[in-house]
């Protein structure tokens, strides 16, 4: 299982670095906007938010207690909440890195930090840009369609965009490239599940700042993830003394 071990090694380092950087960026950009939006959440009534962090303090608990008999565990505001956000960032960053490194190996591997940037752009387009067109980043307190339907559209869009990009870059004919373009466009013709009404107490200005913050932080995350993966992979293969630069 040397291939598996080496992919995990490269992904773990890239994910750890990119995840920590993303968590730090979120602490200063997206998280304050989420906390600000939660102030509008109780009164909006636009949609239910089970287990919200602030219900107990804002007095929303009585109004919402019928939704869920028992409050599930929720991290305390402050350090504990930031800690779990950071942990989720690092763990999923390693997950994204595993996918990125494994997929790129099928295409010959990420040979350098510069190639890593290109792969990072692809990851950003697949996981942030494409699903974000139909389902822009949401703040708490904003109305949204059925969760399972949105998750299904999100996963379908990511899969179709990834397949479409692969066909355009690695397909060997015009027909395959055209099919790739069609796959990228198709989810947006189908359209993402939308709520019946977009009315919300959350100010549009706050939401706009959030969309920009999420998109830019994710772009930087993917660029760092790809560049570090390319750098580590290269150094790792050199340290193994393999003249061909192979990891196993």
């Amino acid at each position: 299982m040397t291939v598996f071990r080496n992919v995990v090694f490269v992904a773990a380092i890239a994910g750890l670095v990119a995840g920590l950087v993303l968590a730090a960026m979120q602490a200063f950009s997206t998280t304050p906007l989420i906390v600000a939006a939660e102030a509008y959440e109780g009164g909006g009534g636009a949609h239910d938010h089970p287990n919200d962090h602030d219900h107990a303090e804002t007095g929303g608990e009585a109004a919402h207690s019928h939704d869920h008999g028992e409050e599930a565990w929720t991290p305390e505001d402050g350090f504990e909440r930031e800690f779990y956000t950071a942990a989720a960032n690092v763990v999923t960053a390693i997950g994204f890195a595993l996918v990125l490194v494994a997929v790129s190996e099928f295409a010959g591997g990420i040979a350098s930090w510069r190639q890593g940037l290109m792969w990072g752009f692809a990851g950003f387009a697949v996981f942030t840009l494409a699903p974000g067109l139909g389902l822009p980043p949401e703040l708490p307190g904003m109305p949204a369609a059925d969760l399972a339907a949105r998750q299904a559209w999100w996963i379908g869009t990511v899969a179709a965009t990834a397949a479409g990009l692969a066909l355009i870059v690695f397909g060997r004919s015009v027909a395959l490239a055209a099919l790739g373009v069609a796959l990228i466009v198709a989810p947006h013709i189908v359209g993402a599940p939308q709520p019946e009404s977009h009315d919300t107490a959350v100010p549009a200005e706050l939401h706009h700042r959030f969309v920009v913050a999420v998109t830019v932080t994710n772009l930087l995350f993917w660029l760092i993830l790809g560049a570090v993966a390319g750098t580590v992979r290269r150094r790792f293969s050199v340290s193994l003394g393999d003249a061909r630069g192979s990891l196993a």
Binding site: M1, T2, V3, F4, N6, V7, V10, A11, Q26, T30, T31, I34, H49, P50, N51, H68, A72, T74, P75, R81, T85, A87, A88, V91, T92, I94, G95, F96, A97, L98, V99, V101, A102, V103, E105, F106, A107, G108, G109, A111, T128, P131, G132, L135, P136, P137, E138, L139, P140, L147, W154, V214, T217, N218, S237, R244, G245, S246, L247, A248
Partner: protein, 59 residues
């Protein structure tokens, strides 16, 4: 430059390499799915701000 020989595990058998790369990708998707998409309250609450910040569909 021959990119094929630079790939991780180019010396492993093609079948084994394919299997191990597939396994790596599946492990990654499983991790993302659990932290980002699981409907369990525990997973949702712990990763709440993260899910919003990644524009994952959330509650």
């Amino acid at each position: 430059m021959n990119t094929t020989s630079n790939a991780i595990g180019a010396s492993a058998s093609a079948q084994s390499r394919f299997f191990q790369l597939g396994l790596s990708a599946l492990l990654g998707l499983f991790v993302i799915g659990f932290v980002g998409f699981a409907h369990m309250d525990l997973a949702h609450n712990a990763a709440h701000d993260y899910r919003h910040s990644m524009a994952f569909p959330c509650h």
